[in-house]
Subunit: 310 residues, 2 copies
């Protein structure tokens, strides 16, 4: 990178007839026009977002997804007497196009029916969860939540959050937003606050209630209405802001630039039929992907997988 | 894709105390926040753009690039008595960061010194050009221009343009914007006009002249000033608008989604060590990539290269 020199302006006074149009909207080159192009493209083609929801039956997964997107996006299979609970982990996806202010979102929600249903879940973050989360956080962005938070007192909620945070740390489970992907001090401050609050304690609801003349999404109980979108009641708004309003593009970028590139490198390396020439990548053990140096691994992964294709 | 049902609103009249904040800026879900996220990301990280300039020495390639970006971005190696003209085609790249209104563009310009210098170039679009362009347009987006258009009369310019257009068509050279990638009627209308005007007849200049109190980029001659940014004089503005102000993101998208994906599929198929299982792709001959069905090939290429990695 060499510094740019602007052209000198040794203006003469020769007149000329036809005028060049004034450049009001753009700078001299017009680089910033790409922002409009990005917007036009997004408005035209929309964008995609994939969510996998993991947790035992009855945790309110489908209600939470429907609350997030204010639609009947998803209906999980409720175990009935006729249809037994699935004994194996099988993935099931549904896609919808959600449109808001002209912008289309193709949302794909994946369910994991039967996850953990055959295991005693008296104590949360038991070995299954830890083993599962350790693998999962190397493959996708993991956003843990405390579901059905309305069943916890304030003290129980904070104690539970604190216990989960300690367990995540102790078992090197690097949930989103990963510290090693903070790109500057602003990211560190913003994401640091989020990391303190995670897992969000959330409540989902698909019923609206009239409160002081306004329709409020909430759970009506004998002792009052638990308002989903009221930060004083639960942290649903923090979850929605993270997933949709502030970090959606970053979630997609990390998925594409880190997780998918790591996956490609691993697959290419696993193919023993490939010649082990200069492009051969001896990847560090997967555990290192979540170490503080993972940003470097991230860039190396992208480079290596491209090298392997050459 | 199933249609979305909005949640019913069976509001009751139960009052509640703390207020949910009014959602003024976003819709109920807040999908459109991704537009802000895209903008913030672009402003923060900037974006990249790569241009390769091809043509014999003396055509004004470096002046044209410098005119496009209003900076001394690039200085081509002028053949001197000491340093002979390169006899082989070797690529040479320089990178700069250009900033305008806070948005950064990492521009990489690649030169092809010695291209065609050893060949009689009395008649343009001779076999070398045709062979070269046929291969090139399957690998990158090609934007042909008539350089040094100030040396042509109006009649010569139009005759030259018409001859080039006929030759491109006769030899199936599919230059940018490719008809098969038009996504809707608006694309067809806008890009159709551009296709009629291509190749743009352009003039480059790195000197400014004072004309009616304004500094004008142009070439000062005995008979007047040829104004680069005056559509009545030459088509430089059309070229700049296409490359930077209207199609920059689309150029990048087609490069990434079509050319790079095709390249990956070809490289994966060439690796004979890969097992020829169900994921094996028997790609159509490269010529078909520029056929009217290339949009389908485009999508298939993306899918196939992902399948190959599985």
């Amino acid at each position: 990178m060499s510094p740019l020199r602007r052209s000198p302006s040794p203006c003469s006074s020769r007149p000329s007839s036809p005028r060049t149009p004034p450049l009001e909207r753009f700078g001299p080159v017009g680089i910033e026009a790409v922002l409009d192009q990005l917007k036009i493209k997004a408005m035209k083609t929309g964008f995609e977002f994939n969510i996998m929801v993991v947790g035992q039956s009855g945790l309110g997964k489908s209600t939470m997804v429907n609350t997030l997107f204010k639609s009947k996006v998803w209906k999980s299979a409720v175990p009935s007497l006729e249809v037994p609970t699935p004994q194996t982990l099988e993935l099931h996806s549904v896609s919808h196009v959600i449109e808001e202010k002209g912008l289309k979102l193709k949302l794909t929600v994946t369910d994991t029916p039967g996850f953990g249903d055959q295991i005693n879940n008296d104590k949360c973050l038991r070995p299954l969860d830890i083993e599962f989360l350790q693998r999962l956080c190397r493959t996708v962005n993991v956003v843990p939540v405390i579901a059905r938070a309305d069943s916890l007192t304030i003290e129980e909620r904070e104690a539970f959050r604190s216990r989960i945070q300690q367990n995540l740390k102790a078992h090197c489970i690097d949930v989103y937003p990963q510290k090693c992907f903070d790109e500057d001090i602003n990211d560190s401050i913003l994401n640091g606050k989020i990391r303190e609050q995670i897992p969000f304690a959330v409540v989902g609801a698909d019923q609206e209630h009239l409160v002081n003349g306004r329709c409020i999404l909430g759970r009506k109980t004998k002792w009052g209405i638990i308002e989903v979108e009221n930060i004083a009641h639960c942290e649903f708004l923090l979850l929605r802001d993270l997933l949709i309003r502030s970090h959606l593009q970053d979630l997609k970028d990390i998925t594409h630039n880190v997780h998918y590139e790591n996956y490609r490198v691993i697959r290419l390396n696993e193919s023993h039929q490939l010649p082990r020439g200069p492009g051969w990548v001896n990847l560090a053990p997967p555990g290192q992907l979540t170490s503080p140096g993972c940003l470097k691994v991230r860039r190396q992964a992208q480079k290596d997988s491209k090298d392997d294709e050459r």
